[in-house]
């Protein structure tokens, strides 16, 4: 089996995540879809690290995880704060700004 299969899996996961962002309405689930995209990228990075024979890819994946963790904190805080005023976590309800 070629490691390229991992890349294909990664591409598919990334796409699934991207489509999830488009179709889900719960802000938290949308955000989880973005996390899925980041995970897909990590899989690519790890696979490329192996193909290239350098550890850099793994280090990058590690950084992605750290960044994602920080992003999650900020994102959830923002979602919490809007939930407090709106009592809704649907992204479709945040629709005052348009046109």
């Amino acid at each position: 089996m070629s490691p390229t299969n991992y890349l294909l899996l990664s591409g598919l996961l990334f796409t699934v995540g991207a489509v999830g962002v488009l179709v889900r309405r719960n802000a938290i689930v949308v955000f989880m879809c973005i996390e899925l995209m980041l995970n897909a990228v990590n899989l690519s990075l790890v696979t490329f690290a192996r193909i290239n024979g350098t550890l850099d890819g793994q280090v990058m994946a590690f950084f992605v995880m750290v960044v994602a963790a920080a992003e999650v904190v900020v994102g959830l805080a923002i979602i919490m704060s809007i939930f407090r005023t709106r009592r809704s976590s649907s992204v479709d309800d945040a629709n005052l700004l348009k046109y």
Partner: protein
């Protein structure tokens, strides 16, 4: 353990049979869980499906000569980050499941088509061209040297990003505090003595008259009456007096006129 066997199998070049087996089991599982995540109506189910994908990925990392990342994925990502997600899900209402009705016209179709196109581009354009590429493998960096190798890189080549992540974490912590921390109104806390002094020095020592004293009703809306029969101004509630009170709509004497049923009956007769 078959896993350990697989991990050590995966040496420099191509993948072994063991890895292939694991991949063909966990890969579809990860993908299926991902798809299930976007289809699950309940947000908690989505989160759990995501956890499943992440765990599968963790194993795939380990098989790809990245044991450290695999464990970080399990501990940090699946363990901490996803728990945070679940916490917030519980806070904002677990049962806030998405309605299945799509309000944006064409959104799903367009999303699916674009997703398909994107996947095709990635798979056909990028993935296809990579099959002929030999994989070098990480050699000594794979197993025991993995952790040291990563650490060495972080503190040499990637020192700046590493330091920058600290800024990121500080921002995140500060941001969470600013947005999620409900500010209490700071009230001047009076000691018992101070309270007594304030009360004695103030313009009124006795408690405010309660509603309905010397009155016919006990409602807050009814002002207290003083012994001479006049209204005690202190007993008037600011909130209630501040609002225009509409006369409560009384039901009309003819109850049938509400439903209109009688007219129907009459018409029918």
């Amino acid at each position: 353990m078959i896993l350990a066997q697989v991990v050590s199998d995966a040496t420099a070049g191509d993948t072994g049979v063991g890895e292939a087996i694991v991949f063909w089991i966990l890969g579809p599982v990860a993908l299926a869980a991902a798809v299930a995540m976007i289809f699950a109506r309940n947000a908690v189910h989505s989160a759990l499906f995501l956890v499943m994908t992440m765990l599968s990925l963790a194993v795939l990392y380990m098989m790809q000569q990245a044991p450290f990342l695999g464990f970080v994925q399990i501990i940090v990502y699946t363990g901490a980050v996803m728990m945070l997600f679940l916490f917030v899900l519980m806070l904002v209402g677990r049962d806030s499941s998405d309605s299945v009705v799509e309000v944006l016209r064409g959104q799903r179709v367009a999303g699916a088509l674009l997703g398909l196109a994107f996947a095709l581009l990635l798979v056909a354009g990028v993935g296809r061209t990579m099959f002929a590429v030999p994989s070098v493998g990480l050699g000594n960096n794979a197993a025991n040297g993995n952790l040291t190798g990563i650490g060495r890189l972080i503190f040499t080549d990637y020192l700046l990003p590493f330091e920058l992540t600290s800024a990121l974490l500080i921002t995140a912590a500060l941001g969470a505090m600013v947005l999620a921390f409900a500010q209490k109104k700071p009230k001047a806390k009076l000691g018992q003595r101070a309270a007594v002094v304030a009360r004695l020095r103030g313009d009124r020592i006795s408690p405010l008259p309660g509603p309905g004293v010397y009155a016919t009703a006990n409602s807050v809306a009814v002002p207290a009456l003083l012994p001479d029969g006049s209204v005690a101004p202190e007993s008037l509630s600011e909130i209630i007096e501040g609002h225009e009170v509409d006369e409560a709509p009384r039901p009309p004497s003819d109850a049938h006129s509400l439903t209109g049923r009688r007219r129907e009956l009459e018409a029918g007769e």
